[in-house]
């Protein structure tokens, strides 16, 4: 592989171009979005591999049922990962995801009933509960000057406790009408919500708030010097992610059609996995919720692939872990190459 002579640049010099020269526009766009491009490429490859395996096994292409169930199964994680992205972009990490999803999922299973209007009001209130949970995290991180990882570790415990209080035993029920709207079992209409999330992300990315989130993720001190209100930005980012986790909880309740105060626990770690696969830097300031949503779909596709490859389900997490490491190492290598290529 041809490499430029390292002698030309002083050690430790930044990758930036010298002043006066410009990269071609396409190369610039690729360089800036390398994480997203990688994530979508991995997703594409995993879809192709899955389709191949499926066609080989079933002698037909994956149809409406396979697509619909994949999309519906991924929705809670896609939303949780979008929320996690906002926090990670500010150079934080949110371990309370599982607790918020537990709590909102439990609330949904108990209170979703009756007329359409009632269900809409309940859904809105549950999203507000998520916002309150995120606000608590945000206040503690922003105003309390506490480390995100330990704050959200503690609030995880609080939210899990509240969830068990709300729904001590698995149960409750979600009306079929509600399920049909959120996770229609007959068609992949939930993709509409993915589209909404992507649009929301693109709007946020271009807003003042989005710029501020990226700025404090890249260099908090510099951002503050430039007049960005870091505390307020962090509080809003955590609150927004709380809303997204709550939406995840609603989708989880809708697809399970009943509630369980512990099924959300897994989303703490899987949302981090999806964010990492989606090319979001854990060191903040780099990445995209679109990538994270892609990461969520990649994890679903991997489970599908392992199933159709007849891998013993007991070994599933072994392959998932191995894949995560390989994806991250390859992603970093490709990213370095792309930044080096002029």
């Amino acid at each position: 592989m041809p490499r430029e002579s390292p002698d030309l640049a002083p050690a430790g010099a930044p990758d930036d171009e010298p002043a006066g020269t410009r990269r071609p526009r396409a190369a610039h766009i690729i360089g800036q979005n390398i994480g997203l491009i990688l994530a979508l490429s991995i997703l594409l490859v995993s879809v192709v591999v899955f389709t191949g395996l499926f066609a080989f096994e079933q002698r037909r292409l994956p149809g409406n049922f396979e697509i619909t169930s994949s999309v519906n199964n991924t929705m809670p994680l896609a939303l949780a990962a979008s929320g996690q992205t906002l926090v990670v972009l500010t150079r934080g990490i949110d371990l309370s995801v599982g607790g918020v999803i537990d709590l909102t999922n439990a609330l949904a299973a108990i209170f979703l009933a009756g007329s359409v209007l009632h269900m809409i009001v309940v859904s809105a209130l549950i999203l507000l509960v998520g916002a309150a949970a995120g606000l608590l995290n945000g206040l503690l991180v922003g105003l309390g000057r506490l480390q995100p990882i330990v704050v959200t570790l503690a609030t995880l415990s609080i939210f899990q406790g509240l969830a068990i209080r709300v729904l001590p035993q698995p149960g409750g029920s979600v009306p079929t009408g509600y399920t049909a709207v959120l996770v229609n079992p007959n068609a992949p209409s939930a993709l509409l919500f993915v589209g909404l999330a992507v649009l929301g992300w693109m709007a946020l990315r271009r807003s003042r708030l989005g710029v501020a989130i990226f700025a404090i993720g890249n260099d908090e001190q510099a951002a503050i010097t430039l007049g960005i209100r870091a505390q307020r930005t962090k509080i809003i980012a955590y609150t927004l992610s709380g809303v997204l986790y709550a939406a995840g909880g609603l989708f989880l309740a809708a697809s399970a059609t009943s509630g369980d105060a512990t099924t959300g626990d897994v989303y703490t770690l899987t949302s981090i996995v999806a964010v990492v696969l989606g090319g979001v830097s854990l060191f903040g300031g780099r990445g995209s919720a679109i990538g994270a949503i892609g990461g969520a779909f990649i994890t679903t596709m991997i489970v599908n692939i392992l199933f159709f490859a007849h891998i013993d389900p007991l070994y599933q997490s072994f392959y998932e872990g191995l894949f995560l490491v390989i994806a991250v190492v390859l992603g970093a290598a490709v990213g370095r190459l792309a930044r080096r290529a002029r």
């Binding site: 503690l140 609080i158 406790g161 001590p168 070994y315 190492v329």
Partner: protein, 317 residues
Amino acid sequence: MNAVLSPAALRILAAYGAAVLLFVLGALIHPGFASFPSVSAILLIASFVGLVAAGQCFVILIGGIDLSVPWVLNAAAILIATSSLGENSRALYALALTLGMGALAGLANGAAIVWLGVPAVVMTLAMNGIVEGLALGLSGGMTCAACASYAPPLVRAAVHGVFLGVPAALWLWLAVILLVSFVLSFTRFGRATYAIGNNSRAAFLAGVNVSLTTISLYALSGLFAALAGILLVGFGGQASLGMGAPYLFQSIAAVVIGGVSILGGRGHYLGAAAGAVSLTALVSVLLALNMPEYGRSIIYGVVILALLLLYGREQRE
């Protein structure tokens, strides 16, 4: 008062103060809570968290984290039972094998973090999955013939045996506390650990072997998680699936309550050990109050937050 005690020493004292306070509180609620057998039982439970926290403390001191604790612990528990088949004659071989497995998992974590540049959160999270998959797959989901084996009597004695009126596991933990504290405070290795945690580039320029130290610390974390798994099998008799799950968050909480900065470079295992005792005493007090599970979980979180707000805040520049 800061002229006498450094802030670091104060944080450690605060962790011990919290532990003592909880025992006093427990004694007020429930006479006999602070009796010798009761305290000794609580400390025994705390020792498992404390041992995991030793490894967690090492890696957090360099600004890392070990999320692979749950399944390294669980795999160690399964391995000690299946490789010893409950026989003393095979106990030493099984111990070496199990501790080696833990150290190897940690070594792989450290190597990938140092040489492949994988973030610690991602690498140890992936390792948790890798070890989980192997443990489940190789044991057939705990259905293997050897999986029902008990811990060898030797290992059970190392937990339940009583020496000078105190359970043997507590002596073992005391030895670990002394050893780890000595290493952190008085050895080159300990100095290097703090140096890396404060500024790994400066440490590198000062001649510290950052790579080797980092890898060793992760290997130690795996080793301690495996040790805790062995002792838990000795305590309960058999291995079970999911037995490692509580120890991830408890070990991190113990380390943080003990005044160790999650950013690395500041804190001491003496504090983390007190943190482990405080956490366990807190749960015991809540159990003595007949607090239901949800209440314990909520109060647990609130207490961690309160302690953090008390002394875990970043210094304002």
